[in-house]
Symmetry: D4
Subunit: 252 residues, 8 copies
C-alpha cells in the first residue's frame, strides 16, 4: 500500500501528472495498490506460503522454486514428489524431511507452535495410508495437532466405534476412503464437527480409479460432508487447517 | 417327456419313419423332448410361474397374458404396473391384490404355505420403500417369510444396530439403499449370511439416477455382497427366494 | 443415559439378573446406553433438529413427520418441497414461512439468536439463485448471520472485486455456480477462509446437468476448496453453519 | 463376553463405581461387549478367517499379516499377489500353495472336510480362466466341492448344452464371462439355482475393461442373477460358499 | 449428363468461350456433370427413393416433402412419425398405410415385386416389437420378403432353437434386442449368414437407455456381427435390403 | 474514467483525504476507475450490449432487464425464449422482432449498417435449422452480412460442392451439424478461413443429445476447426462476429 | 447325424432301451444329433475354420491350438499376435506368413481360389493402416479379392473422389477411420453397396481411444452403415466375406 | 488448371472425342480440374504447407514425408515427435530446429516475414507450458508475432490483471489451461477479441485427463469462446493464425 500512498503524494506535490496516476493504477499489479488480494496474500503468508506441486517438474526446477520461496518464508511444503525430487531437496536444504509414504517433503527453519484443537485424520484401509498421510503432513506443517486414526473401515464397525471419543473430540475430521467410500457417511452420523471427505483411487473394476468413492461421498446421506478431489490429501489437510486456524483465531 | 416317448413307441411300432423321428427331435421345442430346459421349467413351475413385467404393455395385453398363465398356475406376479393395469387385473381376477407402493399385483388361488427360514429386507430410507416392498412382495408370493426392517440408514447407526439380532437370524438379507448405497457394506460386516444389495435411483445430482449407489455396492469392502440392477427389487426378492428354497429343500 | 443407570441400580439391588443387563446392553438402541451417538444427538438437538427432505413424500407424510419433530423442537426446516407441501405445512403451522425460490419451509417458535460472525453466500448468475437461497435459508435458520452476494460471475470480474471486502470479512464463504463453475477458484485465490463450493445444474449441452461445474470445482486450482453435491445448497449451508458454530463456541 | 460379566460382578461387589461401568460400556470395543459383531466374527472364524488382499502391500507386510492370522487359524487365503509375494509366503510357510493362474496363495494346516453339495464354476472363454480359478480356489479353501466347467461361451451353444446336467446338479452356479457377458443370461434360463455372475475385463474397445460385461449382467433378462465387481472371482467364490454353507448347515 | 454434353458442343461450335466451360465444370453441381453421385442416385432411385425422417418436422412439412418426392417415385417411406403425421399423410395420399407399432407410413403406387431370398427379423422380447417392425416394414417396402421371428430371447433358449431352420434359411438376419442384448451373439453362433444387430432402449437402470445392449453387441463374441444405432430398426432393414438386393442382382 | 479523474482533482484540491482516494480505488467497481474492463465494456458497447439469456427467467424479469439495457443501447438480443417471453417483449417494444425458429427476439432502434465481408452459416440437415438460425440472427444483429447455406450434409456431397464458391468467399464459416457432426471436417478441408463448428442435439440413441457431434468436431481431422457448446448457435454467431469485426476494423 | 440314426436303429432292433435313447438325446452335444449347429459348422468349415485370437495366450498355447485345428483344415488365421507368437508359429509351420502391420499370421496348405467380386477396404489416414490391413488380410484368406484404397480421409475430399469408380465397383465396402470417423458417412452417400464401418483408436484427447469415432459411425447420417467394435478389422473383414460369399453362392 | 485447358483445346481441335473429355472430368482428381480444393490448396500453400503429425510414425517415415514436402515448400512443421524423430530430422535438414518442450521440429529455408498484429498465448500454470508452446511455435512458423504470457492462472488474479494491456492489444488470444480450465472465462470477460481455449490434460483425479477443463471451456459463461481438443496447441495456433492472416490480408 506504501506504493499507492507515495504515488498520491507525488501527484499532490505536482511531481507527476494526473494521467500517470490513473495509468499506474490501471497497469500496476493489484497487489501493489493495496487491494484485497494483498491482504489475502499477507494473511496467507502469515499462515503458510505457496505450496509446490512437484508432479511434472524437474528436480532442478523444484529446488529453484523452493529456494526462492524459502528466502522469505519460515517453512515449505512440496507435494507429489519422486525420490529424485526428495534427494535434490535434501541436498540443498539440510533440514528437509522426506515423508516417503505421502510422497512429500517439508522444510522448516523451526517448528511452528501448534494451535489448540486437533484435526482427526481417519482412513478406511491400509492402502489409503499415502493419501491420509498427505492430509496429516499438510495439517501438521500448517501448525495443527493431528490425530491419526487408521484402518477403521465400515466392514468392521467396532474398530471405528471403539475410537469414537477420540474422533468426537477433534475440531475437524478428515475421512479418507477408497472402494465404495462409505466411511464419511457413517462418521458424519456420529460427530457434529465439519467432516471433509477424501476419496482415494484404491480399488479395481467398477471403482474406476476413485470415481465411485468420489460420487459416494458427494451423495452421502450424512449432512454437512464436503468433498475434495480423488487422492487430494493435501486439499483436505489445507481446508481442515483453514477451519482450525479460524477457530483458534476466534478463541484468543 | 411323454411326447418323446410316444414318438419312439410309434417308431418302434413302425407307424412312423426314422427320418420323421430325427426331424421331430430337431424341429420340436426342446422342452417337448425332455431336455434340461423342461426340468428347469418344471422345477420353476413347482416353485413359481413366469412373472409378467407390466411396463410397456397395455392393460388388455397384461390381462390376456395373466389369464393364460393362470389357467395352469396357482399364483401370479405382475410387476411395474400402472393403476390402469391394476384396475384391469382386479376386474378380471377377484382375488387380485394391488400393492400400491411397489406397483405390483399378486393373484393367488390360495396362499402358499411358507417355508421355514426368513428373508430380511432392509432399506436405508423411507424413499427406498417402493423398491424394498417389491423385493418383499416377490419373496412373499414365492413362499417365504419376510422380515421388513426399514429406515435403518448408516447416518444413524443405532437404528441398524438395535435390530441386529433380527437381521442376523435371517437366511438371506436383501439390502436396499439409494444415494451413496453404503448400507450393504455395513450389514455385510455384521452378518455371515448371503447379502443381496439393491441400489435405488433415490437421490439427485451426482447420484446419477442410482449409478452411484450401484457402483458403491459393486465395490463394497464387505465380502460376499452380490448386486442386482438399479431399482430391481423383484430380482433381489427372486434371488433371495432361490437361496431360501434351496436351504429349505436341503433341510427336509 | 438415565435408562442405563436405572438398569445398573436394579441389578445392584438384585431385582434383575446379570444376563438381563448384558442382553439389554446388547439389544437396546445405542442411544439409550449413553454412547457417543447420543452426545452427537444432543449436540445436534441443541443446534438443530432433523431436517425433512420433502422430495418424494406426500404432503400428509411431511406434515406428520414435521408435527412429530416439532413436539420436542424449537425450529424445523423442510427442503425440496412443492407448493402443495407448503400449503399443507402453513395450514398446520401458523408460523410456517414458505421460501418460494429455494423451495423450502421454515418453522420457528421464536427466532434463534444469531451467532457472531457471518456466512457469505455468493452466486455467479441469477439462475443460481434458488440453490444459493437454499444455502442461505439453511444457514439462517441454524442461527447464522448470512451475507448474500449475488450475480458476481467471473465473466465480469469487477462485480466480484468491488465486493471483496465484504466477502473477506465472512467466517465461511459458500460459492454457488453453474455452467463451468469457475467462481470458487477465483474466490479461493482472494480469501483465506474456508470456501464451500456448490455446483448447480444451470446450463445446457456439455454442462451435463451440473457435472461440468461439479468436476471443475473438484479440480479447482484454488487451495482449500471443498465441494458438495450438485444443487445441494442445503448441504453447503449446513457445513458452513457447522464451521461457524465451532468458531462461535471457541470464542466464548 | 467374559469381560462384560467380570465388570458387572465387580460393580455388584462394590469394587467399581456405576459411572465406571457406564463409561466402559461406552468406550470398549463392541466386540468385548458381546454384541453381534462378535457372533459374526465367531461364525466367520469357524468358517473362514480374514482374507489378505495382496495388491499394494509389500511381500514383507503380507508375510507379517499372514503370520499373525495363522497363529489362531487353520487356513489362510491371500489374493491378488505377485510372484514376489508367493516366494516370500512359501519361504515362511512350508505348506503354502501358489496358484499361478488366479494369482493367489492358500495355506492350510490340514485340508478342510468338504461340505456336501457342489459349486459349479463356469467360464465363457479361456482368457477368463484366471478369474474363474480365483472363484474356484476361494470356494475350495472355504470347504466346498467345486465343479469347473470352462470354455462354454454362447457363441457355440452345444458346448454349454452338452454339460447341462452337471451344471443343474450344483447348489450354486458361478458364471464368469468377459466381452458382452451373455453367458449368465443363458445359464439362468436353464437352471433354478442361484446364479452369481462375474464380469471380466477380457476384451477390447467398446468392452471398456469389463464395463460392458458388467452392465450386461446387471440388466440380464434371466431372473435371479446377482453380480459382483469386474474380475472379482474371490467375491463370487465367497458368496457362493456362504450360500452352500447355509444349505449344508440346514441339511444337518 | 446431357447438360455437360450440350456445354461441350456449344464450345466446339464456338458459341461459348473456353473459360465459360471451365467455370461451368467448377461451379455446377457434380450431379449435373455425370459424376458418381449421380450413378449412385440413379441406382438408389431404381431401388428406393429418399426416406423421410418425420421426427422434428411438422405434419405440413412432411406432407410437402412427401408430395414432392412422390411426383417422381413409385413408393415412399416416412419413419418416426406421430399420429398427426399419419393423419395428414393419409388425407393427402389415399394409398398411405399407417404402421402404428413401428410409427411409420408407407405409400406405394403398386406393390414392388419381391426379390427371391428372405430377410429374417428376430426380436428378444415383446417390448422390442416396435423396433423390429420398423426393420421389417423398411425391408418389406424395399422389395424383400421378410420372415418375422419374435419373442425368442436367450432366457428361454428352446424358443430360439425350435425355429432355427427358418432362421438359417434367410439371406440376412436382423436381430433386435434390449436389456443385455445377448441374442445376436447366440444367433451368430448358429448361422453363417450376415447378422445385423439392433440394440433397443428397452430396459431400466444399468441399461442406460440401450447403451448396455449396444456395447454388448459391439463386443459380441460371435464373429461377423455388425451393429446399428440404438432403436435404429430402419437402418438395419435398409442395410439388410442392400445385401439382399446385391445377392438377387448377382443371381440373375 | 471521469469519476477517477474527478476524485484525483478533489484530492489535489484538498477537498478529500488521501485515505479516501485509496479506499475509493479499492472499493469502487473497477469499471469506474478506467481499468481494462471498462475499455472492453466500451468496445463491446460500441459493437453490442449485454445479451439476455431468456431460459429460466420469467417474462416480467426479461422485460425489466431489457428495458433497463434499452435505455442506453441501440439494439438488443434476447435468446432462448418461450412464446410468452416473445409476447411480453413485443407488447413493451413495438419494434421487437420475434424469430420463431431460433427462439429469440431482436430489438433495434434502427438497423446497424452492415460491415463489409460475409459470415457463412451452413447446416447439415433441416432439423439443425433452429441452431443455425440462432447463429445467423446473432451475427446479423451484431452488424454482419450473413449467407445462409442450409441442408448441405455430407451424405449428399454434391449439395455442398455446388455451393463451394459462395462458402469460400466468406470471412468466417459457421458449420452447424448434429448426428455424427462430420460436416465441419469436410468444410475445413475446402476453405482457408476460420471454421467455427456447432454441434446440435439432433439425433437419437448413440448421439447422446449431441455429445457425439461435439466429440466428432473436437477431434476433427480438419486443421483450424474450433468448437462451441452443443446447440450454442449464439456463441458461434458471436465469435464469428468478433472475427469479422476485427477484419473490418483492420481494413479501414 | 449318423450317430442319431445308429441310435434309433439300435433301439428298433431292441438292442438298447427307450430310456437310453431319450437320455442320449438329452446328454449328447447337439452337434452329434444333427441339429442346425452342425450345419452351421459344416458351412463354416467349408468356408473357414475357427480363428485364433492370440491376445492373452502364450506362444505355446497358440501353437498347440493351431496344430489341432490344422489337422483337419486347409487354412488358419491367428490375430492379435506378438512377434513371439509369430516366431513360434513360423517355426512350427513352414508355410506360415507373418503380417507385421496387422499383427496376424496366416497358414495355408494351398491358396484358396478367389471368389468373383471384390471387397474394397478404405482407410482415412496412414495411422489407420494396421486395422485396415487386419480387415484386408482376413477377407483375403477367406477367399476374397481385396482392393486396398488407403489415406482417403475427408479433410482432402479429392483423394476420395478420384478413386470413386473403384470403390463403387466393389460388392462390399469396409471403411476404417479414427479421430471423428467421418469417412463412412461420406462413402455411404456415394455408393449403394453395404458399407461396414470400423472405428480405430487413432487420435488423442476427446477421441477417447476410439469412442468418438465409434459413436460417430453409429449415428452416421448415411443410410445402411453398420459398425463393428473399435479396431476390429477382423470382424469387418469377416462380415464382408460373409456377404461376398453369399453373393458368390447366389451367382452360381 | 492448365490440364483442363489443354484438354478442351485438344477437343476443339478434334484430336480427342467428347466422351473422353466428359470421362476425364469425371475421373481426374478434382484438384487437376481447377476446383475449389485447388484454390484452397494454393491459398494454404502460400500460407503454410501440410503439417506432419509425428505420433505413430517411424523416424524414417517422418524424414521421407518431410523431404518430399520440403522439395516444393519453404517451411515445414512436424508435431508430436519423440527425440528420435528430432535427431533424424536434424541429421537430414541442417536448418531443422528442435523445440523440446512442445515436442516439435520446424524447418525453414529462410524465416517468413511476420504479419502485423500479435497473437497472445496465455497459460494458467507452468505445467501447461508444453501445450502453450506448441500453439506459440505453430503461430510463429505460420508468420505471426507471438506474445507469450505464462503462469497467469485465476487462483492469483493480480498476475493476469497486471498484464491486461498486453493481452488486450493482441488480435487473437489463445488461452491454455488444465485442471478446471477457468482462465478462458475470465479472459473472455476482459477482452473483445476472439478467444481460443485449449484444455490441457494437466491435473489428476476428477480432471479425467483434461475432460473437466474441456467441458468447463465449452460451457464457459464468457461469450465468444471457442474450443479445441485436449492438448491441441497446434490446432489453436493454426486457427489463431487463420484469423490473424485474414486480418492482415484485409488491412492491405
Amino acid at each position: 500500500m506504501t506504493e499507492a500512498i507515495e504515488l498520491l503524494e507525488k501527484f499532490r506535490a505536482g511531481r507527476i501528472s494526473r494521467d500517470k496516476v490513473v495509468r499506474a493504477f490501471q497497469a500496476a499489479p493489484l497487489a501493489d495498490l493495496g487491494f484485497a488480494q494483498v491482504d489475502t496474500h499477507r494473511a496467507l503468508r502469515k499462515g503458510f506460503p505457496e505450496v509446490i506441486f512437484g508432479a511434472g517438474k524437474t528436480p532442478v526446477q523444484v529446488v529453484k522454486i523452493a529456494a526462492k520461496i524459502y528466502e522469505h518464508e519460515q517453512r515449505l511444503l512440496v507435494t507429489r514428489i519422486t525420490p529424485e525430487h526428495a534427494r535434490a531437496l535434501r541436498k540443498k536444504f539440510k533440514v528437509a524431511v522426506h515423508h516417503e509414504l505421502p510422497r512429500c517433503v517439508t522444510i522448516e527453519r523451526k517448528p511452528l507452535r501448534k494451535r489448540p484443537g486437533t484435526i482427526a485424520v481417519l482412513c478406511a484401509g491400509t492402502s489409503d495410508l499415502p493419501v491420509a498421510e498427505e492430509a496429516a503432513v499438510t495439517a501438521d506443517i500448517m501448525g495443527n495437532r493431528v490425530e491419526r486414526i487408521y484402518d477403521v473401515g465400515v466392514a468392521g464397525l467396532h474398530r471405528l466405534l471403539s475410537r469414537l471419543e477420540l474422533i468426537q473430540s477433534a475440531n475437524v475430521v478428515v475421512v479418507v476412503a477408497g472402494m465404495e467410500g462409505a466411511l464419511p457417511s457413517v462418521v458424519a452420523g456420529l460427530v457434529s464437527r465439519p467432516v471433509i471427505a477424501v476419496p482415494t483411487s484404491v480399488g479395481y473394476g467398477a471403482n474406476f480409479g476413485g470415481i465411485t468413492a468420489l460420487l459416494g461421498m458427494l451423495t452421502s446421506c450424512g449432512s454437512g460432508v464436503t468433498v475434495v478431489n480423488i487422492d487430494n490429501g493435501f486439499g483436505a489437510g489445507y481446508a481442515a487447517s483453514q477451519i482450525n486456524a479460524l477457530v483458534a483465531a476466534s478463541s484468543k
